[in-house]
């Protein structure tokens, strides 16, 4: 590849203009660098800014299946088995989801689980939730309130460089986490 003054060569998206931007894409916990021209960079930023993840998703789907069109053709050959998967609750089909990037309802996650899991793995690098959970009792809420308060105090102590207090607070937070039986806080 001929390199330009930035050392990037041609844009990897359009293959026409000279690349002048480097973006790093997080895929499955791996960072892949891509070199883009100003036009394609602008398009990508617009999509991100508009929250339009359709392109991102089709790129991911193509990474998984080796090309959306080929995948669609393969699916058609197999008698449209995968494409015809439909969420029974809301009627959204797998092909509609891959086109729009949006799921129809919470049950779609169950209906498309087989296809969604590798996609989520690509996007997030992990597929096991580690964050907060809906509260079901007052005790959990109280513990969480204490945790939030201690976290705040810890931040303040660190900011004030009061490391002695910070160490005590860190211990208290740890105890609280252990008492929760591994439940995650934030």
């Amino acid at each position: 590849m001929a390199e330009n003054e930035n050392g990037f060569g041609l844009c990897e998206e359009c293959g026409v203009n000279e690349a002048c931007y480097t973006i790093s894409v997080m895929m499955g916990g791996q960072i892949t660098q891509r070199h883009l021209c100003a036009d394609c960079m602008a398009k990508m930023n617009m999509n991100l800014a508009a929250g339009n993840v359709k392109h991102l998703l089709s790129a991911i789907m193509s990474a998984i299946t080796g090309g959306v069109e080929e995948a669609a053709a393969a699916i058609a050959e197999e008698g449209g088995e995968a494409a015809s998967i439909v969420c029974e609750r809301c009627g959204t089909s797998l092909s509609k989801f891959t086109k729009s990037g949006k799921l129809g309802c919470p049950s779609c996650y169950q209906a498309f689980r087989e296809q969604l899991t590798p996609m989520l793995q690509q996007i997030h690098g992990r597929v096991q939730h580690a964050g907060r959970k809906p509260l079901d009792d007052e005790g959990a809420q109280r513990r969480r309130a204490v945790y939030d308060r201690l976290s705040r105090q810890l931040e303040q102590a660190v900011a004030m460089e009061d490391f002695e207090t910070a160490a005590v607070l860190r211990d208290q937070l740890k105890q609280l986490s252990n008492a929760e039986g591994g439940e995650n806080h934030a």
Binding site: G125, Q128, H129, G131
Partner: protein, 332 residues
């Protein structure tokens, strides 16, 4: 204190009711349920104090847009104006948007670098609601959202940063690589495409699944601190090695903003960036919150609300110039 570089911190949680389709924009019956259920749950949980309900279809176009300009609601919510609503607690900038891509977007904004406080405010609302209603949640995948890029925590933590010296030194490419290395995202806040007018950037977490909220917030905060240090090192260098060119740049901006009679938005951003840099570095004795507030108040819808009429073209630019002089105390 990181307020010399960080303008504000924002945390946003996406939540959905488990028994309703995600997209309610063309389903008024579901949209109505989203609003009434949320309002009732907040009331039942006793955390409704201070929240005011805004239904977008009942508001003027300018008022809706002005709320989006202040980031109290998202621009996407404006696309669902017929069905969308927002509960806003103005005194501490907490918003529960209803009927965006997800049923609920719980959001809190804090001035300066304070993601933890913004997160706590969101969690309090989330906890209160979750004891009254059933959110779509899966033990393996966490909170289920309309778009798989939000699945898991449903949380986006972001910092709005002013990075004029890093931009001037053409270091934003390096910054971009650094940001990507820790799995975060960076983009310009104002302008089209790859522009970052006013040298204002937003950094935020890209992944939402498989990490705790605490981990995500720590990552964004740590990177925010690192960028602050990089920016401040360049500012210090400019102060020591090129004081006169720096002062010239700052005072020219002051001159333009306090004297211009017509102010196009693009030109404003350029002067604003230099004005804020000069203020943060102590070259100008201005309150930073006023300087930061200018960003909202010079936007089109804010000016229309302020002038109580629809403004366009030169009249809009004139109103902007007047508003700027007023905010900088030059019209008395």
């Amino acid at each position: 204190m990181r307020n010399d570089v960080v303008l504000s911190s924002r945390v946003r949680l996406a939540r959905n009711y488990e028994d309703i389709p995600f997209d309610v924009s063309d389903r008024p019956e579901f949209a109505a349920v989203c609003v009434s259920r949320t309002v009732n749950a907040l009331k039942a949980a006793g955390v409704d104090k201070g929240f005011e309900l805004f239904r977008l279809k009942e508001m003027s176009d300018a008022s809706c847009k002005a709320m989006a300009e202040s980031r109290l609601i998202s621009r996407d919510l404006l696309n669902h104006a017929q069905s969308a609503a927002a509960l806003i607690r103005a005194h501490d900038a907490v918003t529960v948007m209803m009927g965006e891509d997800d049923h609920l977007r719980i959001q809190a904004i804090r001035p300066e670098m304070d993601l933890l406080s913004a997160a706590s405010a969101c969690f309090r609302v989330d906890d209160a609601l979750s004891r009254q209603v059933n959110f779509a949640f899966d033990e393996q995948l966490g909170y289920l959202t309309a778009c798989p890029t939000n699945t898991g925590t449903g949380m986006r933590a972001s910092l709005l940063m002013h990075l004029p010296m890093l931009t001037k030194a053409k270091k934003m490419g390096d910054v971009g690589q650094l940001v990507a290395k820790v799995g975060l995202n960076i983009r310009g806040v104002y302008g089209e495409g790859n522009e970052a007018l006013g040298n204002i950037y937003q950094i935020s977490n890209q992944v939402t699944l498989g990490r705790t909220e605490q981990e995500l917030i720590s990552t964004v905060t740590a990177l925010g601190n690192q960028l602050c240090d990089m920016e401040n090192a360049l500012r210090e260098k400019a102060k020591n090695e090129g004081r006169i060119p720096l002062e010239d740049m700052v005072f020219r901006a002051w001159g333009a903003l306090t004297n211009a009679r017509l102010m196009p938005l693009n030109e404003f951003y350029q002067h604003w960036s230099n004005l804020r840099l000069g203020t943060a570095m102590g070259l100008l004795k201005l309150p930073l919150p006023i300087v930061d507030a200018m960003l909202d108040h010079v936007q089109e819808a804010h000016l229309c609300v302020w002038a109580e009429e629809a403004l366009t073209g030169a009249v809009l630019e004139e109103a902007r110039a007047t508003r700027i002089r007023e905010m900088l105390g030059m019209t008395k």
